[in-house]
Symmetry: C2
Subunit: 233 residues, 2 copies
Amino acid sequence: MLKYSKQTRLLLAVDCIVFGFDGEVLKLLLIKRGFQPEKGNWSLMGGFVQDTESLDQAANRILKQLTGLEGVYLEQLFTFGEPTRDPIERTVSVAYFALIDIQKYQTQMSSDYQAEWFQLKRTPKLVFDHQEMLEQARKRIRYKAAMHPILFELLPTKFTIPQLQNLYECVFNTTIDKRNFSKRVLATGLLIKLADKDKAGSKRGAYYYQLNMQNYYAKFQAFMNFIPNPDTL
Amino acid sequence: MLKYSKQTRLLLAVDCIVFGFDGEVLKLLLIKRGFQPEKGNWSLMGGFVQDTESLDQAANRILKQLTGLEGVYLEQLFTFGEPTRDPIERTVSVAYFALIDIQKYQTQMSSDYQAEWFQLKRTPKLVFDHQEMLEQARKRIRYKAAMHPILFELLPTKFTIPQLQNLYECVFNTTIDKRNFSKRVLATGLLIKLADKDKAGSKRGAYYYQLNMQNYYAKFQAFMNFIPNPDTL
DNA sequence: CCTCTTTATTGTCATTTAAACACTTTAATA
DNA sequence: TATTAAAGTGTTTAAATGACAATAAAGAGG
């Protein structure tokens, strides 16, 4: 088989920024890096791309190996290629971000894995350029969520409107008038009201809703925009 | 120096999707591929990432080598990594897109280079997965132009409002009411009206405008959205 | 049982923004 | 001087947005 001779070959890695939501605050999944350099320091979920797998496959494999997570929302973010980003050897990294409902995957993750959730506002120092990856990922989900209903990926199948609002407020780091919020979110036609209530958060209890999957796929491309003054898109 | 032993190393390429505008229609810059496989077929501007350069540097270098273009708007788009996308040897490609004013770089490009402009609606068949890259790039500039004033990168320093409208109509493949368009575009405060007119397009002539660079940088993050029913963002 | 407390839920009005729509102006050319 | 082709300009109506406050439900505690 022919080859492109005389060209440099590089290490290619994938790093996954995993966001989770517990109904209260946004969280980030981190892991203690298992090998040198920076062994033992907090890191995104990363690994090398293998010979025969696509980038998406690599991202899914690595996520599963390190956390047990499978079948989650995963999207390519950006590729980081500064020559010196890894001090050992040049490694270009394709970053992905994942959005998951913490509760749903709680069991799947369990204690077999070293991954730990951190409140987004209290993340430790990260290895290499992972901090930069995280910032980009936060920007991207804001940008995307302003026009697409991706944030539902972070919620359980059944969720309440106050939870949903809470999530939007976390992501956009703002506050939203609840009357206007529920008006607009209901106007999308994406929600189905259920008969039962979530009594955990209040005495009165808030009705559960679930996604109308039909409308969800139909409207994924052009969604609402109900974020008042998001800091930066 | 330590190395990550036993990991696969891959070829990493950069491909540039170069859009241009001549005041009339959107165009795409293509080149005849200079080596096997697919030698002689139409291709995006591509090349391999070298040992010591960043991805951005590689994209700029390749663009300059193949077209003479320098200092243009260049943004990372997406990374394509299907294992078989290059039949000779696995090559992962980081795609970039560029936006340029054709007239400005006309001289810079000249005849030293093999690159040729094609109307976007009449592009030939492209090598490998370059067609897919092109589609993604078109989506991305629509998406981005809906919120940021990037399309000005495609225009000369002095341009007319009909030209600007024409550009938006090309990119979003739609038609816009000219009264509403000029109202909104002027309301952004991004344009400075000049004293002279462009008499090329009409008897009466249309006033030239130029960007108010101060406001441009200030408002880059949150721009207008005046696209009625863009097909897909 | 009654009161208190907490959170969920619902509606109106004023303002802003968006969309539809047509005539006048200009200047070259015939 | 009449014609023509494109530039430029306002108004009206409908829809969306944003600000705003009172009521309902249910558990907790006296």
